[in-house]
């Protein structure tokens, strides 16, 4: 590869980068251009033999100028996203997980958190009562009722079976539904 061709490859890259960075403050733009220029020079110095492929490889590793510019502008975006998500964090996520897995602990966290309204906290505490441990308790009672109804006529057995099946289904879905609801309330904040 001729020195002229190498210079052309590097210049094209730097020109594209400069175009991508035009909307930045001159201070940041100069800093980034300066550092990238130095990076290319140092990496080129370390190449055992400079060929078209190794030089292209070097520029590829540096990345698309558009990506570098996006990272440079990322500051604005990152700041606004921090500001909007600051209202809830690990604590609230933990509360939701524990609400189904370890109900008393989850319920306490739910009430301690300042993120939900009292109405949402009441709903979260009462539906389902006791999270999945509570649901298991309800279902074991239902099983006992089913066993008792088997002694009666067939139609009682079938009706009781259908009703209890519906209740079990609701009891299984309710906790997940409530967590999804509380999570969407978080996102709405």
């Amino acid at each position: 590869m001729t020195a002229g061709h190498a210079r052309q490859l590097v210049d094209e890259y730097l020109q594209r980068l400069e175009r991508e960075l035009t909307d930045l403050s001159p201070d940041s733009r100069n800093e980034i251009m300066d550092e990238i220029r130095r990076h290319i020079a140092e990496e080129r110095g370390g190449l055992a033999d400079e060929s078209d492929a190794t030089l292209r490889n070097l520029l590829e590793r540096l990345g698309d100028p558009a990506d570098i510019a996006a990272e440079a502008r990322g500051g604005e975006k990152a700041r606004t996203s921090v500001a909007t998500t600051r209202r809830f964090g690990t604590f609230e996520v933990l509360a939701l997980i524990l609400l189904v897995a370890a109900w008393p602990v989850g319920a306490i966290l739910l009430w301690v958190s300042k993120t939900w309204t009292t109405r949402e906290k009441l709903l979260g505490t009462l539906i389902p009562p006791g999270g999945y441990p509570g649901v298991l308790l309800i279902m074991s009672t239902l099983h006992w009722i089913t066993a008792a109804s088997e002694a009666g006529p067939a139609w009682v057995d079938v009706t009781v079976g259908a009703v209890l099946f519906t209740i079990s289904l609701v009891a299984l879905i309710a906790p997940v539904g409530m967590i999804v609801y509380l999570a969407t309330r978080l996102r709405a904040r």
Binding site: E31, I36, R38, H39, G63
Partner: protein, 95 residues
């Protein structure tokens, strides 16, 4: 990234080499530079020029006081988060 500047000031290429050595890098190595530049405009790092033997001076980045605070704060939050996850798994294993 900030934590990598905790011990001593480094220049951009050095940070990239450290990331490479840990096998952590990173699709576009060039994005390290705008990241450093942003941290500087946010006051988390400060820069100084240092001469290099037989070469042009390099821009070194070091943690500012508020950068040090940010690292300490993140570390505390991370440990608290890690401990609560540890506790959940420990309780789960016991049940």
């Amino acid at each position: 990234m900030l934590a990598m500047l905790k011990e001593l000031p480094r220049y951009g290429g050095e940070v990239i080499q450290m990331l490479r050595a840990r096998g952590e890098l990173v699709v576009s190595e060039g994005t390290i530079y705008p990241l450093l530049s942003r941290m500087r405009s946010e006051g988390l790092v400060e820069t100084e020029w240092r001469d290099t033997p037989g070469g042009a001076p390099r821009r070194y980045y070091r943690l500012s006081r508020s950068g040090q605070k940010a690292v300490a704060q993140f570390r505390d939050e991370w440990f608290r988060f890690r401990d609560s996850v540890d506790n959940i798994f420990r309780d789960g294993a016991r049940q």
